[in-house]
């Protein structure tokens, strides 16, 4: 039940109580081996991305045509690719691209989904119907197919891939925020705020949104595995990050031509994608348990 403490937008008590909640959630997560694995992998990912220049053994773009397609070993942990570039260093630098994609998609999708969802849920009526119809249209596509179509329309590049993924990822968030907003709409404290003369806008932003925030954050975490996989899929089809960028999906696409003889070209980038997306899924699974009221009561 401590979770609810974060919902109080009190200036004075906010920091300690939210830190406390965070600590509680972390201890809960670390107790289960699977979500602990997820947490550790993502921590590692952030560290690797932050210290990429120190961890990488080579320049990720430096070609060495005398040493192309070398098997792992001899100073190249994961071998070299068709242009003699060090695959380990490219993976390390590629973690920055993955984190950028996740970060940018989240800061676009979170607010859009929140605003659409809470406005629709709070206002209700015709506005709600119209907004939810639009959401439904977007939801009637698998996310990869819609992103594919958007990238095709915008032209292939990393930025456009991020825009396309964001365009397809907000509807589930909006749906969730709407459902939450509808449960709070009738609450007494909202009626009190309205009687004090607060405008609809103020109520939505100051009273409804903070209440929806925790569940939206969980949903965003759960979405990240999908975001990673969609971005990699776009990169693989040549519609996301373009070579020579060390994006993991694009690395697999170029390595595909050599995969029968040089297995390491596709194996390591794929393992990187798999590990990160598995980590997000395990973490999301753990978070869902950690914040599930049924589970909380049982303990």
């Amino acid at each position: 039940m401590t979770v609810k403490d974060t919902d109080m937008p009190r200036q004075a008590s906010q920091l300690p109580s939210s830190l406390l909640v965070l600590r509680n959630i972390l201890t809960f997560l670390m107790r289960s081996p699977t979500s602990a694995f997820g947490l550790i992998v993502l921590g590692l990912l952030i560290v690797i991305a932050a210290f990429a220049p120190l961890i990488a053994t080579h320049d990720p773009y430096a070609q060495d045509l005398a040493n192309t397609l070398k098997a792992p070993g001899n100073g190249h942990y994961f071998g070299t690719d068709e242009l003699g570039r060090d695959i380990f260093s490219r993976l390390v630098w590629g973690s920055r691209i993955s984190l950028t994609i996740i970060f940018l998609v989240s800061i676009v999708v979170g607010p859009i989904g929140m605003i659409v969802g809470t406005t629709a849920g709070y206002m209700g009526g015709r506005l709600d119907t119209i907004m939810m119809r639009i959401t439904d249209i977007f939801l009637s596509f698998p996310s990869l197919i819609l992103s594919l179509a958007f990238v095709a329309a915008l032209g292939p590049s990393l930025n456009n891939a991020i825009i396309a993924i964001a365009l397809t990822a907000w509807p589930p968030i909006a749906r969730l925020a709407r459902a939450e907003a509808m449960t709070f709409r009738k609450a007494d404290y909202i009626a009190a705020a309205r009687l004090q003369g607060a405008s609809d806008m103020r109520i939505i932003f100051k009273s409804i949104m903070p209440m929806c925030l925790p569940s939206v954050l969980i949903r965003l975490t759960l979405n990240m595995a999908t975001v990673i996989l969609t971005a990699a899929g776009l990169g693989f089809l040549g519609l996301g990050a373009q070579p020579p960028m060390p994006e993991w999906g694009a690395m697999i696409a170029t390595g595909r031509r050599y995969m029968i003889d040089s297995w390491w070209l596709v194996t390591f980038p794929g393992l990187a994608i798999l590990t990160v997306s598995l980590a997000f899924n395990l973490l999301g699974d753990g978070l869902r348990d950690a914040l599930d009221p049924k589970q909380m009561n049982r303990r």
């Binding site: 119809r133 439904d136 009637s140 095709a152 297995w263 899924n281």
Partner: protein
């Protein structure tokens, strides 16, 4: 009488919803088509056409008309079944897609059989052994399937099972050698080869189908397992389960006859939805396995910017999703007495 009226009202409101969603879908595909950077006129007349020819085609395509008029024209075309011509193949887009569809349906059907065959028993086992080691292993196993980049797993599987072990066929729907040996009657290779009595072709097709279908099935089993588990948990917690045990039924009987019997309808709806999302995996796996289906058609046209083809493919996926949603909704209403 009143009941019938209520049902009629709910059916008509659902019909309006579907019509609005379809219209929205058309707006969306139209916008995507208009945003595409490829110049549709250039694609038709070629690089070295004269200015007059360019202007003429530009006018013929109606691109000089206001945007809403262009949309109405697109709407009219779609309603009369005219989806335009593919620039790449020169054939009507619909004809191309209809030719590619059976390959994808064959793949997706096998995949869903594998996915449901794997996911449902795993979900039941996980629910019955909640929080025990079986539950944890099944959870990691299914999340693994959900986390793997399917295009990569496809390649690794090709390296291992085709290049090294030689257990299965490589890319394509059958050995090069057999191509053209069987008449296309239904487009479904397995059926066509059986009709023609060509058992060699049939086994070659099975051999090529098994790997991509298993991978797709495994990735879709994650969702099926999770939902089966949670449906089962709901049932197992009910008091009638205890009653059934007290009556003297065995544990297996209560689980499979009572609890599982009650979740069958829900499961059908879940499997229907999972079938739709297989299309997503199909786009990637068809590229890896050179599978001449809908997904490959879509990606090939995306890369060269063939507007008509892309718009129609996106539209079709949207329609398939709406239909599947509707079907699962209808199933639910028909079989679940509480919704009456």
């Amino acid at each position: 009488m009143q009941n019938a009226q209520l049902r009629l009202k709910s059916v008509s409101s659902q019909a309006t919803t579907i019509l609005i969603t379809l219209l929205g879908l058309l707006v969306l595909t139209f916008v995507i088509g208009r945003m595409m950077p490829a110049d549709p006129v250039r694609a038709i007349v070629g690089e070295d056409a004269t200015r007059e020819t360019y202007e003429m085609v530009y006018h013929q395509l109606g691109l000089d008309r206001p945007i809403w008029e262009q949309f109405l024209r697109y709407l009219g075309d779609v309603l009369t079944g005219d989806f335009g011509t593919s620039i790449r193949t020169g054939q009507p887009v619909m004809q191309d897609i209809l030719r590619a569809m059976p390959a994808t349906i064959e793949l997706a059907t096998f995949a869903i059989l594998i996915g449901a065959g794997l996911g449902i028993p795993l979900g039941v086992t996980a629910a019955v052994n909640k929080d025990k080691w079986q539950d944890h292993i099944i959870r990691v196993f299914s999340l693994f399937g959900h986390s793997m980049p399917i295009f990569w797993t496809g390649m690794i599987a090709l390296i291992v099972f085709y290049a090294h072990l030689g257990w299965v066929g490589g890319s394509g729907r059958m050995e090069q050698f057999y191509i053209g040996m069987v008449d296309e009657r239904t487009g479904f290779l397995l059926i066509d080869s059986l009709l023609a009595g060509e058992m060699d072709v049939f086994w070659s097709a099975v051999n090529h189908l098994i790997l991509p279908a298993s991978l797709l099935g495994y990735s879709s089993s994650a969702y099926i397992t999770r939902m089966t588990r949670s449906f089962m948990l709901d049932q197992l917690g009910q008091e009638y389960m205890t009653t059934a045990r007290v009556k003297g039924l065995s544990r297996g009987q209560t689980i499979w006859l009572h609890a599982f019997g009650n979740i069958r309808v829900q499961l059908v709806t879940i499997v229907a939805l999972a079938y739709g999302s297989l299309l997503e995996g199909a786009v990637l796996i068809e590229t890896v396995f050179a599978w001449p289906g809908f997904g490959q058609y879509l990606t090939n046209n995306l890369i060269i910017g063939d507007m008509n083809a892309v718009m129609t493919c996106v539209l079709i996926v949207g329609v398939i999703f709406i239909v599947l949603n509707l079907l699962s909704d209808l199933l639910y209403r028909t079989f679940d007495p509480r919704t009456k």
